[in-house]
């Protein structure tokens, strides 16, 4: 019979230990895994990107239900173990006793909560798990929300940057004189502070927090010096301490953490402990690399093999997009130490290497961290740097004489050079895995070697290694840059536009390091849309960054003429409108008149110079632009509904007209076509539209994500609405979410596939407050969007578009 192994704590250390254990002796133990959180193991280091909105929870799950099932792990998630009975060899959770032969304590750490008044108020959160992240995101979604982050270390700053990225006003309170004083010296701390302040984060150093104020929930934070910062959210990131309470109660030897031997065994030989809760030779650990080493050792101990934990030095990187920071080793000043410093204040670069007897003790890099792993490698091997001392600070490419090409720099690293600090994977291991196992992608490398699978900050190195090993056959699929002008993807650019409050195309290009002076025909229209959508009323639309159709508000045809489609709300028209259209057709000798699929009339073959006159006539008859050219709201198609149809259940025509009157003029990532059908017979074909409504006796079924173009796809039901008003609010909220998340030119069905319909439903259906906010943002944006572009041009706007600059056609005759 298999021995019973019970594990308390389903975090990263125990998860890694199980992987090693199942690999070595798959059937040896019957495993029961307790976790206080109601979910399995996920990559906790990546909570910062989740908080920043750069990743989703699903992206950071390391062990899913299938994995636990495949390994026969009894999962007891959401159950807190309250007692260990060492005599009976069993643990208790929710009153249920579970016996063990071997027990592993992996309870991790608990956030250090400052013992000050108000610490228990709602709105005060730690930053330890997904629940904390979700609570913070909820507060960040409120308008003008303010956050105070207590603690300017790694965790606090990542939280601060992420919350700022979500639009909150953020203050960081830090006890020490400069930020991240455990990893950075004062100069690098200053540069970091300047960077964060540039993003609108207020940094208050030497801050003694006195109390958190508030009655029902947190309202403000008060400092000893009398300063008061208003706050809707307080994040406690002042440090962590090993979570040892269970072990203490059980009488196991405790010091700062649970005391373990080199083999990860506690004072009780049947009980192991690992992770942030342990103390080994007087030291406790908080970074992931040593925890993974402990996991390896604990797994060996459990299989009866000899193993000993040897602490190694680890390097630190801050995961804040746009900030490059690397620190390793010991960089305190001392008499017997020397240092080499390189400063370029304008470029924001600072490098400092601390030496003793010509060997590197520590390194701090800010702004340019490309040489981090090289310095760290020299540090760990205690290399005598005397021969290259003159050029050491300029980095590997200079000292080694290799070119400045980053690919060459990676190629030049020795096989033992560590690439992934978290998982302790060196270059040789990765390169071998790539060649021997035929790996071709970043995901492959992560799956086989774990390199870059934890904090992800070495991803760039791993990719370069893939390139160097595979040559041209490597085809990275990770983030698709928007266009050749930038390395950034659409989502990153969008997030940074909000986070850094970039409000013009030149500002985006300057701040995000565009490689071209003026962009290209791919990025400029996308940036223009993102700015229009993010800053309604503030951003001035840049016509020269729009495609010709949206610049002249008509559709260019193959011969350079244009087609003109007046708006007919809900597909309704009148005898007067038809007469005016007929008159225009006569007057301007329109060669083709066609009825469109969206229930409109299209006048084709109009000369560009005639456009303003055509629009003037249509305007006079009360018609405006039908936006048949726009990445925006196109048409709302309807059937005749209960007014005329014997099957109609609701006034589908009326609702269609109402929706179109409410939504015309709005810009969206790609074209947006709607339809309302009066009954499930669906004559308006609402189930292949971007957004569709099917009227039924009890109300309105709202559909989304259909397609009937290059792809054919039926819609998915979003939800049911009881009243027209509710249907309107849901449709506008859905559209606004798409406006905020969709990548330029991404139709709604592709967006839905990318973000998942669950996340859309969560925002638009389940969370009524969020729906309301989305709706209100849509309404606000419409205030500036509902201007008829035809009328503007009839009145003279952009007149240069419609007339030649000079005419030399008579030149020959004149000569």
């Amino acid at each position: 019979m298999a021995e019973k192994l019970v594990i308390i704590g389903a975090g990263m250390a125990s998860g890694r230990m199980l992987e090693h254990l199942f690999e070595a002796e798959p059937g040896r133990y019957e495993v029961t895994l307790f976790g206080a959180e109601p979910r399995g193991n996920y990559n906790r280091i990546m909570l910062s990107p989740v908080l920043a909105g750069e990743k989703r929870y699903e992206d950071i799950v390391t062990h899913d239900a299938d994995w636990y099932a495949a390994n026969n792990v009894h999962c007891r998630f959401g159950q807190t173990v309250t007692k260990i009975d060492r005599q009976a060899k069993s643990v208790f959770a929710d009153g249920v006793e579970t016996p063990y032969d071997r027990l592993v304590i992996a309870t991790g750490s608990a956030p250090f909560i400052l013992p000050i008044p108000g610490k228990d108020l709602p709105g005060v959160r730690a930053f330890r798990d997904l629940d904390d992240v979700e609570a913070m995101v909820a507060v960040a979604g409120k308008p003008d929300a303010k956050a105070v982050v207590i603690g300017g270390g790694l965790l606090g700053l990542e939280a601060a940057a992420a919350l700022r990225g979500r639009g909150m006003e953020v203050v960081v309170l830090h006890l020490a004189g400069h930020l991240m004083e455990r990893q950075l010296d004062a100069a690098a701390g200053y540069l970091l502070r300047r960077e964060l302040e540039g993003r609108g984060i207020k940094v208050h150093c030497k801050a003694q927090t006195k109390a958190i104020l508030g009655t029902d929930r947190v309202e403000a934070v008060a400092l000893d010096d009398g300063t008061i910062y208003p706050a809707d959210l307080v994040v406690m990131a002042a440090g962590i301490r090993p979570e040892t309470r269970l072990a203490t109660d059980a009488g196991i030897e405790i010091n700062r953490g649970i005391v373990v031997s080199d083999a990860m065994v506690t004072s009780d030989p049947d009980i192991l402990a690992l992770g942030e809760c342990v103390e080994h030779k007087g030291a406790v650990y908080g970074l992931v690399a040593p925890l993974y080493d402990m996991a390896k050792v604990a797994a060996k101990t459990l299989t009866g093999a000899e193993a000993a934990f040897k602490p190694v030095q680890t390097a630190t990187q801050l995961k804040v997009t746009g900030v490059s920071l690397y620190s390793a080793g010991d960089f305190a000043e001392a008499d017997d130490r020397e240092e080499i410093v390189l400063r370029d204040a304008t470029a924001g670069v600072y490098k400092r290497v601390v030496l003793k007897d010509n060997r590197i003790l520590g390194a701090v890099l800010y702004g340019d961290t490309a040489d981090g792993s090289w310095f760290f490698d020299l540090l760990k091997r205690s290399t005598d740097i005397a021969p290259m001392r003159d050029t050491l600070i300029y980095g590997q490419s200079y000292g080694g004489g290799a070119s400045a090409d980053p690919l060459a720099a990676v190629a030049a690293l020795p096989a033992e050079a560590e690439i992934c600090g978290c998982n302790g994977v060196c270059k040789g291991t990765i390169a071998n895995a790539i060649t021997s196992k035929g790996l071709t992608s970043l995901d492959d490398v992560r799956a086989h070697t774990k390199a870059s699978a934890s904090c992800g900050s070495c991803t760039g190195l791993v990719e370069k290694l893939l390139m160097a090993t595979l040559g041209d056959s490597y085809n990275p699929a990770a983030i698709q840059p928007m266009c050749p002008c930038t390395e950034l993807g659409h989502d990153e650019v969008r997030r940074l536009i909000v986070a850094q409050e970039l409000k013009s195309i030149p500002a985006v290009m300057q701040e995000l390091g565009w490689k071209t002076s003026c962009g290209c025909a791919k990025c400029r229209p996308a940036l223009n849309y993102y700015l229009v959508a993010n800053w309604p009323g503030e951003y001035e639309d840049d016509g020269q960054s729009r495609f010709i159709n949206e610049r002249v508000h008509a559709n260019i045809q193959k011969d350079g003429t244009y087609s003109v489609v007046p708006r007919m709300f809900g597909g309704l028209t009148t005898a007067n409108e038809l007469r005016a259209i007929a008159d225009v057709a006569d007057k301007f000798e329109v060669p083709t008149i066609k009825v469109t699929g969206g229930q409109r009339i299209d006048l084709l073959g109009i000369k560009k110079e005639d456009l303003p006159a055509v629009w003037a006539d249509l305007n006079k008859a009360g018609m405006m632009s039908g936006a048949a050219y726009a990445k925006g709201l196109r048409t709302v198609k309807t059937c005749v509904g209960s007014d005329w149809c014997r099957f109609g259940t609701q006034d589908s025509t009326g609702l269609g007209v109402r929706i179109e009157k409410f939504m015309w003029g709005s810009w969206t990532p790609a074209k947006l076509k709607l339809a309302v059908s009066g009954c499930p017979r669906n004559c308006a074909e609402a189930t292949c539209k971007d957004i569709g409504v099917i009227c039924i006796d009890s109300g309105y079924e709202i559909h989304f994500g259909g397609a009937a173009g290059l792809d054919i796809k039926g819609t998915e039901v979003l939800c049911h609405a009881k009243t027209e008003d509710e249907a309107m609010e849901i449709i506008a909220a859905l559209t606004q979410l798409y406006r905020e998340q969709g990548r330029y030119l991404e139709r709604i069905y592709k967006w839905a596939k990318r973000v998942g319909s669950d996340s859309i439903k969560a925002n638009v259906v389940e969370d009524l407050a969020k729906r309301r906010q989305l709706f209100e943002r849509f309404v606000y944006s419409q205030k500036f969007a509902q201007v008829d572009p035809w009328e503007e041009r009839v009145n003279g706007r952009d007149a240069h578009e419609f007339a030649a600059m000079a005419d030399f056609q008579m030149l020959q005759a004149a000569e």
Binding site: A521, R551, I556, K558, H800, Q812
Partner: protein
């Protein structure tokens, strides 16, 4: 022999935009870049005849509005994988007036 004729002032052409002049040969597109350089090329893409004056102007290049061919305004040559070229015409800026060499298109007509 050049025959410089005035076709309008710099401000008549929007930055990162274009205007057309009509000639016996067809339209010529006059471009103004973000840094106020001016160029003139045939307003007809060699691919399918798209009006280049209607394209998006970026740097000293324009992208055709019909099928996204990109042309250098300086040389008239198609960029990237596409092969083709449009004719360029000499322009001069005199203070804020734009002058074109009328010989360049008159000669072509006569020839």
């Amino acid at each position: 022999m050049n025959d410089w004729v005035d076709i309008g002032c710099l401000e008549d052409v929007p930055r990162r935009g274009a205007r057309c002049i009509k000639t016996p040969l067809g339209k010529i597109a006059v471009f103004r870049t973000a840094d106020d350089k001016v160029f003139a090329i045939d307003d007809q893409c060699p691919h399918k005849g798209g009006p280049l004056s209607q394209g998006i102007v970026h740097g000293a290049q324009v992208t055709c509005p019909l099928h996204n061919w990109v042309f250098s305004l300086e040389t008239g040559v198609a960029q990237g994988a596409d092969e083709g070229a449009v004719r360029t015409y000499p322009l001069r800026l005199h203070q804020d007036r734009i002058l074109i060499d009328a010989q360049s298109f008159a000669a072509a007509t006569a020839a």
